[in-house]
Symmetry: C2
Subunit: 201 residues, 2 copies
């Protein structure tokens, strides 16, 4: 389902791959939808444990967030090595394939993304408390932008089947959260201002 999506796989094929009879399948699951929700929740239980482990480690908040970003590239690189395909993110794949058709799956996906955003948000609040990002970047809106950046970049990695695309993710997240090293303009007041390096003092 991670590599081929939801609609193109039937219960018969799932049973054949798992070497079980259709009767047994329906003994455990009411439908393909029920199996999908079970698979989603199971995948998130594992991924959530990994996120909590990385974000809850003993290290500065930004270091933990950087590790989380770099792990995304590593996960897709491993998929590429093992299956020759960057499979992307199961949650985003199903969100874009199914969300307007299947409200039960949609509700589970929303819950999962809300938890991802909450985990990032909590880490941003720690970074703001440390003084390593500005306080006005430690919001739920910015945390959602960080997860949106991750998902958009994972889509490009999947589309180009190239995990290296994700090597830029941490730099981009730093721009969103205000800890980046690129130059930034002073806002112009009634005139044009030349580019200026923030890191110059």
């Amino acid at each position: 389902m991670l590599s081929r999506g939801y609609s193109s796989i039937g219960v018969a094929e799932i049973c054949a791959r798992a070497d079980v009879r259709k009767g047994s399948f329906y003994h455990f699951f009411d439908s393909k939808q029920a199996l999908t929700i079970e698979a989603l929740d199971g995948h998130w239980r594992d991924q959530r444990a990994a996120w909590v482990s990385v974000l809850g480690a003993t290290a500065p908040a930004l270091t933990r967030l950087e590790r989380l970003a770099r792990i995304q590239a590593a996960v897709q690189r491993q998929a590429k090595d093992e299956t020759d395909a960057v499979n992307g993110c199961l949650f985003a794949n199903l969100a874009l394939e199914l969300s307007s058709q299947d409200q039960a799956v949609q509700a589970h996906l929303q819950q999962i993304f809300d938890e991802q955003i909450q985990l990032v948000h909590a880490t941003l609040q720690e970074a703001a408390a440390d003084g390593t990002i500005p306080a006005d970047r430690a919001t739920r809106t910015i945390a959602r932008a960080v997860v949106a950046q991750l998902e958009g970049m994972v889509m490009f990695a999947k589309l180009s089947n190239d995990p290296d695309v994700l090597d830029d993710l941490w730099t981009q997240i730093q721009l969103l959260i205000g800890s980046g090293q690129l130059t930034r303009l002073q806002p112009a007041r009634g005139g044009l201002t030349p580019p200026q390096a923030v890191a110059s003092d």
Copy 2:
């Protein structure tokens, strides 16, 4: 296909909806894949004309880019009003459903996203020439980050069926391109630095 995805719709249903016979369908298209590519390219021709019109207008480069961002919210709001569903982006929907299964569709999608990134990149270069963003933000990598942010946020709008999610998009793009108004830290050198407003002078 925009609302229900690719795999769940068969040629028979397409023909029924269009009131044509299957024989006629195969007279014009070799396969559902061929129709999909035709639909993708047609959708991009229309969307590209809109992007070129907005980005090529007579206005400062950043104003044009802001219009492009705000139009994304308007497009999804219109879809919601008309169909009660935020359908998201056809290209991303198909990229995540199909890209690892169908190389011909994948190649067309890559080409379309490359053109989107190129259009944004050209506008960033104009903004840098104006002095309204720093020169080191006017790169293809940053342009790709902008499109990734757009696609990630469109996914969240689709998943929550709420076009208002996209009202934050322009602020987030400004952070990526270095023209935003939020505060930003001076990079700390061997110590913690308190948040500081860039706009204070």
